[in-house]
Every structure is written in C-alpha cells, then in structure tokens.
C-alpha cells in the first residue's frame, strides 16, 4: 500500500534532497539555502563584531568571536610558517561555516522537514503517512556536493600556491622526482604522487561527508525504529555527536592548513 508509512520510506524520505533541475543541472535547493543562510549568519555576525571591535574591554559577544579568531589564528601560526594573508581567513571561514552546518544535525530530524512540508501545503495526514512530496535535508554537510565544493576550493588553492611558489617545473618535479629519485622510476613516482595529490581533497570531502552522513543516518534510524526508546537514544547519540561536530570542523580546518602549508614548502 502506497499510503502506509514504512521505515524504509521514512528513511529514504529523510535522505532525499529538495531539488530542481535534471541530470547534472540538478540543484539541491535545501543544501544551497541552508548553507548560504548559515554562511551569512557567520559572516554577518562576525562582521558586526569586526566593525565595532574595540581595543579596550571587549563585550561578551566580541570575546566569544575573538576566542574563535584567536583559536584559529593560533592553529594557523603553529602549522603554517609562510606569510600568506589568505590562510587564516580561509581557515576561519571553513571552521565556523562547517561547524554551523554540522550543528544543524542536532536539530531533531523531523522538525524542519515537517515544518517545510506544512508550509508547502501538505496536510498532516500526508506528512504522517510519509507521502509528502516536499523534501528537506537540513544538514548541508551531509550532502557530498557541499563537502566536495569545500575540498575543491582547497584543492584549487593547493595547486595554485604550489605553482606560484615552486613554479610549474618545481610543482611537476615534486610529482615525478619523489619518492624514488631515479629517471627509471619517474613514471611510477608520477602515478603515486598524482594519486596522493588527488587523495587529499577526496579524503577531505569524504571524511566530513561520511561522518556527518552517518551521524544523521543514525538519528533517522533512531527516530524511525526505536519507538518510545528513541528519547534516551536520541539524547545519548546527540551527546556523542556533540563531540563529532566540532571535531570534524576542526579536522577539516587543520588539514586545509596542513595541505596549504605543504604547497608553500619549497624543497
């Protein structure tokens, strides 16, 4: 029966993006909207502090923002030894943006999708039976497009700075003359290094996506399968997930700094 709510249908419904367009030109509207909204929350709140930042005694929100800025700044200073005015703002953007997007995971899984369906004009019965045609995935980092976009941005910067610092020849030499420095094995080195190079953004994107997707999936499973027991289970999983959320944001930021630091190192 199409009208019955099945666990499978429930989970599938939760894992489907609201999208427009066909094929490659599909746009995940929910991912885009939530990520841009959260990005705006980040830059506008930080900008409001930056505009009236005082050198004297700071307010509480300024303290909070400065704490984050200093934390990111210290992480950059410890790892990145070159001089590049892009690295610290990049790290700050990644950290706070990813953190905010990850925190969407803590919002109970049915709230925002149900609200969206109600606003979209679906009735309670349709929503309860799982037949709503309005989809809403609220955690942008559970969309591979989101994490891949971040990783791609970092990857482009890695290539750009590698070529800028070492020159095109230096960049190529790093690809083929390492780890076996003999012409006989240049082809082998090249395969090895290209894989290693591409693995960096891939691992960045997939790590964040995988962690958050799995976390979200477990929330959905708990909500879909555990009946009344979902109440303590949700709490326990949320408490654990509270560790994963900032950790993943931190790891993404840290690896970005490390990769760009490597790109700046001239051998």
């Amino acid at each position: 029966m199409a009208g019955e709510l099945t666990t499978q249908g429930y989970i599938k419904h939760h894992l489907t993006n609201a999208s427009v367009g066909e094929g490659f030109w599909t746009w995940h509207v929910d991912t885009l909207a939530w990520s841009i909204l959260l990005g705006l929350v980040f830059i506008l709140s930080f900008r409001s502090v930056a505009k009236k930042a005082t050198v004297g005694v700071p307010g509480k929100f300024q303290c909070f923002v400065e704490m984050i800025v200093e934390f990111v700044g210290n992480s950059v200073k410890d790892t990145f030894h070159g001089k590049n005015p892009l690295i610290a703002p990049l790290a700050l953007t990644i950290f706070v943006w990813v953190l905010l997007m990850n925190f969407m995971d803590i919002i109970p899984v049915d709230w925002l999708p149900t609200a969206a369906a109600l606003i979209g004009g679906e009735s309670w019965e349709t929503i309860a039976s799982g037949n709503s045609h309005i989809y809403m995935k609220v955690v942008p980092t559970t969309d591979l497009n989101m994490t891949a976009a971040l990783a791609l941005g970092v990857f482009v910067l890695m290539i750009f700075y590698s070529i800028k610092i070492k020159g095109f020849g230096g960049f190529m030499k790093e690809l083929y003359a390492h780890p076996f420095n003999t012409p006989w094995l240049y082809w082998f080195n090249f395969i090895l290094e290209v894989i290693a190079l591409i693995a960096k953004p891939m691992s960045l994107a997939l790590r964040l996506f995988g962690n958050l997707y799995a976390g979200e999936l477990i929330f959905i499973l708990i909500a879909g399968l555990m009946g009344i027991w979902q109440l303590p289970a949700h709490f326990i999983w949320a408490a654990f997930h509270l560790l994963v959320i900032p950790l993943q944001a931190f790891i993404f930021m840290m690896l970005t700094i490390v990769y760009l630091s490597l790109a700046h190192e001239d051998h």
């Binding site: 490659f24 746009w27 930056a50 700071p58 400065e66 200093e70 703002p89 953007t93 989101m146």
Partner: protein, 156 residues
C-alpha cells in the same frame, strides 16, 4: 547522492565567503586582538616598572628617615651640650658676682671702720686734750701743743 550543479553553487558561495572574511572580518578582528595584546603587555611592563620605582622610593624614604633621625639626635646632643655650657657659664658668672659683691662689702666695711677709727682718733685726741686740760687745771694753748698732740694721735 550524485555530484551535480549544487557543487558549483557551493563553490561560488565558498569563494565569496572566504573573500568576505579575508577582506572585512579577519583584519579588524585580528588587528584588535593584537593591539590589545600589545596594550596589555605595555601595561604589565609599566606596572612592573612602577613597582620597582616604588621599591626604590621606599628605600630612599627609609634612608632619609634614618638620616633625619641621626641629625635630630645630633642636634639634641648639641643643644644639651650648649645648655650645660650656659648653666656652667651662668654659675661662674654668679660666683664672680658674689665674690665681687662680697669683696665690695668687705672694702666698704674696711673703709667705714677706717673712718670710724679716724673719728675715734680725732675724738680721742680732743678727749685727751680736754682730759689733760682738766688734769692740769690750767689753760693750755692747744695750738701751742698741737705738735705733741699730733704725735700722740699718731701713736694711737
């Protein structure tokens, strides 16, 4: 789950956010933090300096106090000495005065006695002449015998 145009949209959003952060968020915040750090460092250095200054001032004050005390003690000592000296001088002066008065008194008494003696002598000579005149029951010219009388007076 496939990669699609969302990737492009997110990439553009990412670039814009990073650009905005680099242009308008990071520099003022980091600048404020660094400036405050410098300010705090300066303040700490100043307070340390002030503490050292205070210590020095206290040392100086103690020294000056000690000096002042020593001076005061010296002045008191001098004053005492002077006082003793004045007392001695005055005592001496008093002694001298007394001596003088006593010796003057003696001198006066001597002079009085001498005068009295002289008077007595004069009277004795008159008495003696009168006595002699009575004894002799005759008129004797005192002037004629004055040389004898004078001799008599000198012998008294």
């Amino acid at each position: 789950m496939n990669l699609n145009a969302t990737l492009l949209g997110e990439s553009i959003a990412f670039i814009v956010f990073v650009w905005f952060t680099m242009k308008y968020v990071w520099p003022p915040l980091n600048g404020a933090i660094e400036e405050r750090q410098n300010k705090i460092a300066d303040g700490l250095a100043a307070s340390e300096r002030a503490e050292k200054d205070l210590e020095l001032a206290q040392e100086k004050a103690t020294e000056q106090l000690k000096e002042a005390k020593a001076q005061a003690a010296e002045i008191i000592e001098q004053a005492k000495k002077r006082a003793t000296q004045i007392v001695d001088e005055e005592t001496q002066k008093g002694h001298d005065e007394r001596e003088k008065i006593i010796s003057q008194g003696y001198a006066e008494v001597d002079a009085e006695r001498n005068r009295a003696k002289e008077d007595l002598r004069q009277q004795v000579s008159v008495l003696a002449v009168a006595g002699a005149a009575k004894i002799l029951e005759r008129h004797i010219d005192a002037a004629a015998h004055s040389d004898i009388l004078d001799k008599l007076v000198a012998e008294l």
